[in-house]
Amino acid sequence: MAIEATAGGQSAFDQLVQEARPKRTVAQNLKRFARRKPAGAVSAVVLILLALIALFAPVIATHDPIRDQVAAERLEAPSSSHFMGTDNLGRDVFSRVVYGARISLQVGFLAIGLGTVIGMIIGVLSGYLGGKLDLVVQRVVDVLMGFPFIILAMLLVVALGASLLNVGIALSVAIVPRVVRLSRSSTLSVKEEVYVLAAVTIGVSLLRMVLRHILPNTLGPVFVLATGALGGVIVAEAGLAFLGLGIPPPSPSWGGMLNIGARGYMEAAPWMVIFPGIALSAVVFTFALLGDALRDVLDPRLRRGDS
């Protein structure tokens, strides 16, 4: 019996492949993940909390992070009116840390989103088309992987000028080569799968097959890569800020609050520098935890074979 593409565009062949795989609802998957990787589950919850804080920053923050500059209340210790004290310009540190969550997530997701999309497109194309393009792309990836990305990011920020968008673009460079390599190898492996070749021989277009089967293969590892890298990007923004090239003041990025100027106050007003540092490290730690847990679950190689 010939397998034709049914009206809905999904060939009977695909349905067969779909049905063979045991169906698990999303809830079951989450429960399974939580039981097997408690640390991962906790970090996922913390990150959702963080996203909420970032979203409702105006509500949570007690002051305007930029405009509320009261010279008289300069460098005050944490108190009931200022939970985390005030900085050298008399601004409320707690509000700045809360808004900082928003900015760090923005720069993180901007860089990772951009990097993943660009990386996937280039990776799939170079994997799918192969030939000269693939060779050049591979060499560029080698160079980018070989290049200390903080210097590349720095050069881009110096070139484009320091703004949240530009810092995001510069930091997306960190993940592009890795995503290209990942999606390219997935494309290549999908292209060689027997069932793909079989499907092609009976008329299904290779591109549709590659796209239909590339995503599930790549999304897993890319998602793991992205979660881990998100933390890395936020730390990198702090690195750039240390060099004076991070998201420019007065916007309260956590990295910015740790830069050269602020560090002079480490002893006189430790709260001004310690709290953003803790916030930043905690978020990056949580992202890394989630990435680590996902890697153990999603990375097929790591699943211990039951003998």
């Binding site: 930029i66 405009r67 500059q69 010279a71 300069r74 460098l75 050298n88 310009l89 008399g90 110096v158 000028g161 320091a162 004076g244 420019p248 003041p249 007065p250 050269i260 100027g261 560090r263 002079g264 106050y265 480490m266 002893e267 006189a268 007003a269």
Partner: protein, 528 residues
Amino acid sequence: MMMEEKSRYGGIANFSTRADPPLGWDPMRSGSISVLMPAGSIFGMGNMIRQCPDDGTAVCPGVATEWSSNDDRTSWTFTLRDDVYWHDGVKLTAADVKFWLDMAVFGVTVGENSRRPVSWNFARWVESVEAPDDLTVVINLKSAVFDFDQLLAVDNQIIAHPRHLMQPEIDAGNVNVSPLDVGLVALGPFYLEEYRPGSVAKMRRFDQYYKTDEDGNQLPYLDGIDFYITPDPSGMDTAFRTGRLDATARGSGFQLTPEREAAILSTLGTERVTILEMAQSSFWALAFNTLREGPLQDVRVRQAIHLWLDRPELVQVTFGGFGKMTGMFDPDTAWANPGLMETPGWNPATKDADRQQAKALLAEAGYPDGFDAEFMCRRLWGFVCEPLVGQLEDLGINIDLQLVDDATRAARTLEGSYDMVMSGPTLALPSQYGSITSSAGTSATADPKHNDAKVDDFFVRLASAGSVEERIEIAQEMERYVAVEQAYGAWLYTENTHTVVREYVKGIQVPIDNYRRNLDFATVWLDK
């Protein structure tokens, strides 16, 4: 003359500098503290004459003993000492000084590569230089300058270019030869023993140094100075607090804030630390661009900003109180406009009234609820610009703060692509006429943008003023016109430099007016 009961001689001081001296340590190419701080001990300060250590406005002898001008002050004659030697033992002659003056004033051209003349102030007046004999130098001027000696005596105009070593290089075509290229051989109290870029420059005592102290003892007292390169302020503070350094570096970003000073005192205690307070003698101003379409073309808007800004609060917030409000000149010197600090804009007592008037002026000019403005600021000065943003936003001006690096800043200054720019610290009168034109006049490189010929006219009159009193009078008239009447900028404050030395470091001549002076450290000794 009996020696002090305790000999001042001996010991090596561990000082700090914030970076490797750029541009081959060449004072002709950079007057930055990064050059002068370590180089001062090798080059010595000034040239034939220099600013007096304790009074910047007075002139003291350098390698010359006497100097005088002819009647109409168009030709100046200097008599050199005959006991001055380069560090490699070669004697200093008038020909060396002529070589140095010619290079600075006229530059050097060999074949098609040429060296730029130096933008030092005295250079613009020099017609020609002669060295009739080994110990006499005559400088002929294009026109009369009654205080030419004051112009020549500026501390960072340093003879650091040995003719016997540089001439061969220049003849061979290397016109941009720098002191570093020829091993930093110079005339100062110390010679360079070892320079490891990025880590340390070791200077050792030059026994044939020509200067002595008031009691006739041969200078310098120290056996040597090690200048450690500490590129990070926190790293420097740490080293000072654990006794690795005897002094902290000067320069923006490195001079102490109250908090860092308190941290140092908390570790070492006040009895083991001496705080040196020096003025930066340079003035921060918020310069406006009146050539660009927009609210700032209206003088009422500019005056409103001038009245609104609370200078004392800015000093408190930006420098933690280490500074004072000023106009275009240091209020504690003879140049200050009498009573200016009590006038609206500066006077803290009338601040509330001034702010009401500022709001009124804005409304009158047609901007009752403010306007948008692009505020360009050098990245390194982010900490200075942020507080300003806060105050301007309270006035209702929506500020787009743009932190840029030096290249972009220089480019946009030429194009005038900003509404406001943070200007300073630029040296004001009296020593640097050049910078005045660039800081307030209509030249392309000036920060405040306007085409008001009247301002340029002030500078012409200043340059040809007959006496110091006349010059002060013209300067004050200009200040009232530029800073108040037209408010081409809002002159704000000056930061005074706080650095610290260990209690046993004695004999540092603290330059009250400009921290880039008295860096030869010849009189420094260690009391331990």
